[in-house]
């Protein structure tokens, strides 16, 4: 089926004659455009933008490159794919959503109930977001356990950590927008925790002017959610992938590296398979476990069982774990310190193992820290469920 490819060196079996390519390349740097487009994970080798596209690609593909659609490297790609899902479904949702306290709930109700496939778009948006968070966490876990945050990969780690934080904010503002009672009150609870952090919290509290339901909060969250945070997310992804392009993908033992455009074609197909699989997962979750529709926000009655958003369980557990006689601001400061350590881990952790026993010790230590984190999740969840 793919045999009728002629001798042209373009990336895909397209029918463009070389003349068209030449025509374009005389007018604009196509290689630069290609490089920018594939910066976000389609192509991990560095592309020389001074050469014409065909030549630049030939050179880039001549070096053996690793297969990056295989686990565990695939996590980065998954982040990108899910983000695209979120943007597409988010744009569709924005066609109907109205960001005022009076109309918000009902507009979401109209989406879910009256618009064709509205329920589908909404569920994909919500489940895609949860999967995105999980995958970001798993990716960071992998980096942490395999020590992939040390020089020269610091930027990859930092952008990954910031990505996680930005995504939690995206989820947090997003669930607030639905003006659903459960989500609203759980957002308030999360805000309580976040605002109690000394410096960062004050900044956040300044941006969010109070937690009552006047339209300022909703409008600000709306704009944060649909423009500012996605742009920040996009920039962080750029930094992440661009960094990986420079430092190279992580090593996997016994891996065979190929070169040439056929190998790259194989990668593209692998990418398509990946997209299909992840789409299937999200659709399955959307149909079998639809996120239920609650009741509209009732400002006058605080419900009994407000749950903390799941991704904040570990910070919550940590803050509650510290002795209660410490004031909340002190405990939150500890949380802030922990957060900074988390983001700037490469600066904090300077110890590189030099001998095999040291490497083993290092891994054990990392594993221990992960277990402690899991303990805090469990602790936070137990507190949350208990009341």
């Amino acid at each position: 089926m793919t045999q009728e490819i002629s001798n042209q060196e373009s990336l895909r079996p397209v029918r463009n004659s070389p003349k068209l390519l030449e025509w374009i390349e005389r007018r604009i740097n196509l290689t630069e455009i290609f490089s920018a487009l594939t910066m976000f994970g389609l192509f991990y080798a560095e592309v020389d933008t001074s050469k014409p596209l065909a030549q630049a690609l030939r050179e880039a593909l001549a070096k053996p490159f690793p297969s990056y659609a295989r686990f565990p490297r695939v996590l980065g790609l998954l982040v990108l794919i899910l983000f695209v899902f979120e943007v597409v479904t988010g744009v569709l949702l924005a066609f109907y959503y109205q960001p005022t306290p009076q109309a918000a709930y009902e507009s979401v109700l109209i989406i879910a109930r009256d618009v064709d496939f509205g329920w589908f778009v909404r569920q994909v948006h919500i489940w895609g977001a949860q999967l995105l968070l999980i995958i970001l966490m798993v990716r960071l876990l992998r980096f942490f356990l395999q020590g992939l945050y040390r020089a020269p990969r610091e930027l990859v780690w930092i952008s990954g950590a910031l990505l996680l934080i930005v995504t939690t904010h995206l989820d947090f503002t997003g669930r607030f927008l639905s003006w659903n009672n459960d989500f609203y009150w759980s957002s308030l609870r999360a805000m309580e925790l976040l605002f109690s952090i000394p410096l960062l919290g004050s900044v956040l509290a300044f941006i969010v002017p109070g937690v009552e339901a006047h339209s300022y909060v909703l409008s600000r969250f709306y704009f944060l959610h649909i423009l500012i945070l996605p742009v920040v997310f996009w920039c962080l992804i750029y930094v992440s992938f661009s960094g990986i392009r420079r430092v190279g993908l992580s090593e996997i033992e016994g891996e065979e590296r190929r070169s040439g455009k056929r190998a790259y074609l194989g990668h593209l197909y692998a990418l398509l398979i990946l997209i299909t699989v992840i789409f299937g997962v999200v659709v399955t979750l959307s149909v079998l476990r639809p996120v239920p529709f609650g009741s509209p926000v009732d400002l006058f009655e605080t419900p009994d069982n407000i749950r903390m958003p799941w991704y904040l369980l570990a910070p919550y557990g940590f803050v509650e774990f510290l002795p209660g006689w410490l004031p909340l601001s002190v405990r939150s400061s500890c949380l802030l310190v922990l957060l900074l350590v988390f983001v700037f881990l490469p600066a904090v952790d300077r110890w590189s193992p030099t001998t095999p026993p040291q490497a083993v010790l290092r891994r054990v230590l990392n594993l221990l820290l992960v277990l402690i984190w899991i303990f805090f999740i469990y602790y936070g969840a137990a507190l949350d469920l208990g009341g």
């Binding site: 089926m1 009256d114 618009v115 589908f120």
Partner: protein
């Protein structure tokens, strides 16, 4: 796949399979376009979010001295045309125990079937156990249709 088939039919078969496969995969694109297009097409139900307007039927078919029960969620309404030709809307739930009120055309009052509470056409308590008057709502007649502005939640 290339070795087992006889030479003559091979190109034909391959072409056929090729197009079949392409058609199959194209269904994804068509499906996506179809879903997105039907999503974007605005729904036909004339509900506007946040405005809380309840359609209450035609104005012409409601004659003076008549009342019409409008089922609206858990807060049904009665739409009444007074003898003065004015149309008003009151809550159809008795303020005593939330029984649905019945309109009495003879004396133009609302009677509660549960404890014989009586309300006037405009919602004031006339007799019986209820203590609070019925809630009223703003009524608008637009293009011959009665619309009630439900400002409650």
């Amino acid at each position: 796949m290339t070795d087992r088939v006889p030479e003559e039919s091979e190109p034909q078969r391959r072409t056929f399979l090729k197009w079949l496969t392409r058609g199959f995969l194209a269904l994804w694109g068509i499906g996506a376009v179809g879903v997105i297009a039907s999503f974007i097409r605005a729904p036909s139900m004339p509900r506007s979010a946040g405005l809380n307007i309840v359609p209450a039927g035609e104005a012409n078919s409601l004659r003076p001295g008549q009342a019409r029960l409008v089922r609206h969620g858990s807060s049904p309404l009665h739409v009444v045309r007074l003898p003065s030709d004015e149309i008003i809307a009151v809550s159809a739930l008795c303020t005593h125990f939330s029984c649905v009120l019945n309109w009495q055309p003879e004396n133009r009052t609302f009677l509660c079937p549960c404890h014989d509470g009586v309300f006037s056409a405009t919602g004031a308590v006339i007799s019986g156990l209820p203590t609070k008057a019925l809630g009223t709502f703003r009524v608008e007649v637009r293009r011959g249709e009665i619309l009630v502005h439900d400002s409650g939640n």
